[in-house]
């Protein structure tokens, strides 16, 4: 079967996406839980241990508190309560923490620090898998055992007000609830008023046992303006008021009933210095946890350094406090100070219950649980406990009992800590089989791509894909047979924990067929390459490959970037790599430009000094690349006159200045958004602009940027889309003014903030209009006429539609990124690529590099914190999954996508070679899939690294997403290529 190289590359990338998806499914482990039992029927609680058969305390201990109120403040960081801000803005809470009857802790949240997994952790005590981030926006019902479900089963009445996520997680558990949607990040008063308005009524009613309040406003303020905004102070004071109201009401009730109540102040996650959350910086991970109850004694300890505990410890504590069984998947340990005031026997009983639950969980999940030190400690303590009970029942002297008891207590606490730790480590269980299969698919595709480089980049841009012959070959059937046998063996031995085994037979068989087909294709391609190599070596007049410095730089840069992914710091600071690379690229271009301007053409025949300087690391990639450049350059030489026309006069000066202009633009953008980890706290222009004092400056900048966008885009548009573009950009400004980001000149202060639905939809109409016109032009050029002008126009209109969409979705302070991206594209096109006549492969790689750099210029990074989810809700009234995900993905990957579509524009308008587009598509696919494949192998080998969850896993998600975007881009390329070849 003959395929164009573009179509071939697109197919390869699509298959690669499948492989990566399989790998991701295997890499992100399912959370640890009881696999054996599906429904938790009432299992009797563990009885008190005793060495004689004399103790008969088998029932659960009675509840410690009659009522529990949980005030969860989203995004509350530990220093907001325990630091200077707490003293200033939360006087009542500070009083309670310092002098009141309370216990305060710093609870550590595990990454991903996103709301839904954190709520799960608080209520179930388990550690939700990393993949929960993806499901964060669309949370399904929680089937796991949790405090809430236990409380409901015990007939407790639970009332909930706050974030809707809870209602989705626990749809039938609340007797009364009011969920507020958390998706309009720009609103931070109404979400909290919706909670507080119920407070008076519900506190007066007293017909409930548990009240949960989840306040979202603080988190929203963080997302809008960061943790140092003055709005934070107001919000903290408001929260302090809420806490005081709840506490006084609880106290007055206690005076009547004489049973203690419990008030819990906690947070799901903290807030990074940039205002987001999701990653694992100390600011995001450390949350306050304050337990207030008149049952606790007033204490005068130092509150400077509250004890560090795990967030998962709350679930066990709450269950004990309510007299419920501890959720069976909980890995947390009881917060001991809570029961410290009880008699020794009860204390030991609580500790015993918790240890039994943890050791059961350990037995379920670890085959060699008996060797675990925690389990051994537990067994020893249990025996001692029995002895202690005997002594207790024999009524020994209280001093002996107390001394023995406190020793036993210490042992129990040690056992708890060890058990909890070893359970948390169990999280990293990988489904290795799926991972291996995914890796094999990806590597086969990459090998196939590499082997077909010489053929695909030849001037015909076509290649033979041997599809039919392998299907009937012996090799295919042999491989298929072996794979199926392996599959059966693996699945029967590994049980149902592995994803591939849980697939239906046809699906798993499909995967096997895919692998064996790819293997056969690779083998035949390899055979062909070897045959050709023999042929070439027989002909002596084989031209020595000639590499320009630029090719060398591109190759070294690509390889260097891939190698840098192995170090966690380089993953965290990947933006630095890309900035460094494009700066070097600009300087190399500068050198080339200056040489061509001052010395004229130097493309004459060379003696082979520099051929020897090339690195002799003869990896297949290198050799293949070398061969491809060889072919390409031959192509270029045969194509046209090799001399470069030297421009004169004013244009010459522009040409000379252009690399420096590009470099200056990049430097400006670099100081706009500080991303990464190490230097993320540095002041940058973006923060200066978004602070509320500089709204006027931001408005001027946004307006200027929008005008510049219009100027830069309109030059190649048709009149109709020019008008549409102008209206669209005007609409963008109106939208930003409506949601209160920028001001109109006649507006002094924006009091009336709306959601800007009308304005945003107004812009969407123009985006769709421009895209539609562009598509129409493209179709016309394909079907009716054969002129390439209509095609170029259509492509440019599609491109400008995307620019308009990006302008709508970008935050106002990021609009300069869009402007400078357009500017850099224009400069490079006019003054560098056009005069210097780079070939398609070089131009593609340069576009890719710039696309990556602009991805980071937008303020993205390799941690989940920086994903701007507010882009997904522009112009939407309620949460709709598909548009929201699409819009967020587009806003995040706007840089790479815009550069890729500029590449299509450039190649189809500037070159008249018909194969340029398919070459570009092939190169783009190759240069994108190379890092992904290498990264998958790296991550597999680093899977027990300390930073695997905080650094490498988010990057893996980003890489997967990037590959998906690349697949879309390649399909678009191929579609364009088809229209090209037909016309």
């Amino acid at each position: 079967m003959r395929l164009g190289s573009g179509a071939f590359a697109a197919c390869c990338v699509v298959i690669e996406v499948l492989g990566v998806a399989l790998f991701l499914r295997g890499f992100f482990p399912a959370p640890i839980c009881f696999s054996s039992r599906t429904e938790n029927e009432a299992e009797p609680p563990a009885p008190e241990p005793s060495s004689g058969a004399s103790s008969n305390w088998t029932k659960l201990p009675p509840p410690l508190f009659s009522k529990i109120v949980i005030v969860l403040i989203d995004g509350l960081r530990d220093d907001f309560v325990f630091g200077s801000k707490g003293v200033k803005f939360m006087p009542y809470t500070t009083y309670l923490v310092e002098k009141g009857p309370s216990h305060s802790f710093v609870a550590e949240a595990k990454p991903p620090t996103v709301t839904m997994p954190r709520i799960k952790a608080l209520m179930t005590g388990s550690l939700p898998g990393f993949i929960d981030v993806v499901r964060n926006l669309n949370s399904p019902t929680l089937l796991e055992d949790s405090v809430i479900s236990r409380a409901r089963a015990a007939g407790k009445r639970i009332v909930f007000y706050g974030d809707e996520t809870w209602v989705k997680l626990f749809p039938k558990h609340f007797v009364e609830y009011d969920g507020t949607t958390s998706f309009f990040v720009s609103d931070y008063t109404e979400v909290d008023d919706n909670v507080t308005r119920h407070l008076d009524k519900v506190l007066k009613r007293r017909d409930w046992d548990m009240l949960i309040l989840h306040y979202l406003g603080l988190d929203h303020i963080g997302h809008i303006s960061g943790p140092s905004s003055p709005l934070i102070g107001h919000k903290l004071s408001e929260m302090d008021g809420v806490l005081m109201k709840v506490h006084t009401s609880l106290l007055s009730e206690e005076r009547e009933t004489l049973v203690p109540n419990l008030l819990v102040l906690c947070a799901d996650h903290g807030m990074a210095e940039t205002g987001g959350h999701g990653a694992s910086s100390p600011e995001e991970v450390n949350t306050p946890l304050v337990l207030i109850s008149s049952a606790f004694g007033r204490k005068h300890g130092d509150i400077r350094h509250p004890k560090r505990v795990q967030q998962t410890d709350l679930a066990a504590t709450l269950s004990i406090g309510l007299g419920l069984p501890i959720p069976e998947n909980s890995v947390g340990s009881l917060l001991f100070p809570v029961v410290e005031g009880k008699p020794m026997r009860e204390q030991l009983r609580f500790l015993h219950l918790n240890t039994v639950q943890l050791s059961k969980l350990l037995q379920e999940n670890v085959p060699s649980y008996k060797k675990d030190p925690g389990f051994e400690q537990f067994k020893v303590s249990e025996r001692l406990h029995g002895n202690w009970i005997r002594l207790y029942l024999e009524e020994s002297s209280s001093e002996v009992l107390f001394n023995l008891g406190s020793k036993l207590r210490r042992q129990y606490l040690d056992a708890l800590r060890t058990l909890s730790l070893s359970l948390s480590r169990q999280m990293a269980q990988y489904d290795v089989y799926s991972m291996v299969v995914g890796t094999v698919v990806v590597l086969e595709v990459l090998t196939l791509l590499l082997l077909s480089v010489p053929q695909a980049l030849s001037s015909k841009a076509e290649l033979d894909v041997p599809l039919l012959s392998p299907v009937f070959s012996l090799l295919f059937y042999l491989v298929l047979l072996v794979l199926s046998a392996l599959h059966v063996i693996v699945c029967t031995s590994a049980g149902s924990r592995c994803y591939l085994c849980s697939l239906s037979w046809p699906a798993a068989g499909g995967v096997m067929v895919l692998i064996s087909t790819l293997l056969c294709a690779v083998t035949s391609a390899l055979a062909k390459t070897l045959a050709r190599g023999k042929l070439l070596s027989q002909t002596p007049a084989h031209p020595i490959s000639r590499w320009s410095e630029l090719d060398l730089l591109i190759l070294l840069g690509t390889v260097g970037h891939v190698l840098s992914l192995g170090a966690s710091s380089f993953v965290e600071e990947e933006h630095q790599t890309w900035y460094f690379l494009i700066n070097t690229l600009c300087l190399a271009l500068c050198h080339e430009v200056y040489r061509s301007c001052f010395l004229g053409d130097d493309c004459g025949p060379q003696h082979c000094l520099h051929a020897e300087e090339e690195p002799e690391g003869a990896t297949p990639a290198l050799q293949a690349k070398r061969a491809d450049c060889n072919v390409l350059e031959l192509d270029a030489v045969s194509k046209g006159p090799s001399s470069v026309e030297v421009p004169r006069g004013c244009e010459r000066w522009m040409v000379l200045a252009s690399p420096w202009l590009v470099l200056t633009c990049c430097r400006l953008l670099r100081s706009l958004n500080q991303t990464g980890v190490q230097w993320a706290h540095r002041p940058d222009l973006g923060h200066w602009l978004t602070s509320s004092d500089h709204k006027a400056e931001l408005s001027v900048l946004a307006a200027l940027s929008l005008i510049m966008i219009f100027v830069l885009v309109q030059r190649r548009c048709s009149p109709a889309s020019k008008v549409a573009m102008a209206f669209g950009l005007l609409g963008v400004y109106c939208y930003r003014a409506a949601i209160g980001n920028v001001l109109f000149p006649w507006q002094q202060d924006n009091k009336d903030i709306s959601k800007g639905i009308t304005e945003a939809r107004f812009v969407y109409v123009f985006v769709l209009g421009i895209l539609f016109t562009g598509t129409k032009d493209l179709l016309k050029s394909q079907v009716i006429t054969t002129d390439s002008a209509a095609r170029t126009l259509g492509l440019w209109e599609v491109y400008s539609g995307l620019v308009l969409l990006a302008a709508l979705l970008f935050r106002p302070h990021n609009l300069p990124v869009l402007v400078l991206s357009l500017l850099v594209q224009a400069i490079l096109t006019t003054f560098i690529w056009r005069p210097l006549r780079h070939d398609a492969a070089e131009i593609t790689v340069m576009h890719y590099w710039f696309g990556q750099a602009f991805f980071y210029f937008q303020g993205n990074s390799n941690s989940i914190t920086t994903v701007d989810i507010s882009a997904g809700f522009v112009g939407l009234d309620t949460y709709m999954e598909i548009p929201a995900v699409f819009l967020t993905a587009f806003a995040t990957y706007a840089g790479p996508v815009l550069w890729a579509s500029h590449l299509v524009n450039f190649l189809s308008s500037e070159t008249n070679s018909s194969s340029a587009l398919s070459h570009a598509c092939f190169c783009y696919a190759l240069v994108c899939s190379f890092p992904v494949s290498a990264y998958i192998i790296l991550v597999t080998s680093l899977r027990y690294h300390l930073f695997i969850w905080s650094v490498f896993s988010p990057k893996l998600l980003y890489e997967g997403m990037h590959l998906l975007v690349t697949a879309a881009v390649c399909v678009f390329f191929t579609a364009m290529d088809r229209t090209n070849t037909k016309s």
């Binding site: 410095e549 170090a567 966690s568 710091s569 380089f570 965290e572 600071e573 630095q576 900035y579 460094f580 700066n583 070097t584 300087l587 050198h591 200056y594 040489r595 001052f598 010395l599 130097d602 060379q606 003696h607 000094l609 520099h610 020897e612 470099l663 200056t664 990049c666 430097r667 670099r670 100081s671 990464g676 190490q678």
Partner: protein, 219 residues
């Protein structure tokens, strides 16, 4: 290709390396608390001065590019002035390039500038000595196959290896090892120095190795 030429080149380069080593050890006799990392700026200045001095001495003694056609005083003075201007220009342009590469604009200006001076010493000063203030000649030498003598060839190699050394020196900066030499611009200056020294060692060897293949148009 004469072997004596290569020998002279080797001796000249050994002298340069020796001057760098001296710049590390001599100041500790005169200055208290001298160490490369802590009193980095001082070392940078001393190293630059030493290397410049050695280069000038070599130029005056050896005069590999004997073009003493016009040896009037005014010509010499203008040439000297031009050289100074070129040197300063190169310092400033290196500074600008470092800032474009991401060096802080307002903080650590002195540090950045001394890195620029050091890099100019390693690259511009030999160029000025060998080629004179002639921009086109520089461009010619630094394009492919522009070299017309072994001196120019070694100039190519040392200059490029200094640049590559500085470039590679920037790599450890983002790593989280927390070492003192990771601070800007210490790793880059060390990289530049190592690159320069490596270039000095490699270029005579490389030229000796390739002496059969090297054919110059003008030789």
């Amino acid at each position: 290709m004469k072997d004596t030429d290569i020998k002279r080149l080797l001796y000249a380069h050994l002298l340069c390396i020796f001057s760098i080593i001296l710049s590390i050890f001599i100041p500790s006799f005169f200055l208290e608390n001298f160490s490369i990392l802590e009193t980095h700026l001082t070392w940078l200045c001393i190293c630059s001065v030493f290397v410049t001095a050695v280069n000038l001495v070599l130029y005056l003694v050896g005069k590999p590019n004997t073009s003493s056609k016009r040896s009037s005083l005014s010509y010499k003075v203008t040439r000297l002035l031009k050289c100074c201007i070129y040197f300063l220009m190169s310092c400033f342009s290196f500074h600008v390039i470092f800032v474009l590469y991401g060096a802080p604009l307002t903080e650590l200006v002195l540090e950045t500038f001394s890195l620029a001076v050091l890099l100019s010493t390693f690259t511009t000063v030999p160029c000025l000595c060998l080629l004179g203030p002639n921009f086109k000649a520089w461009l010619r030498v630094f394009s492919r196959n522009g070299a017309t003598s072994i001196w120019e060839n070694s100039l190519q190699i040392t200059t490029i290896s200094s640049f590559v050394g500085t470039w590679l020196g920037a790599f450890p900066i983002p790593l989280d090892w927390g070492r003192p030499w990771q601070e800007w611009p210490i790793s880059c200056t060390l990289g530049a120095t190592f690159g320069y020294m490596a270039g000095l060692v490699i270029s005579p060897l490389w030229i000796y190795w390739n002496r059969k293949e090297l054919t110059y148009k003008n030789n």
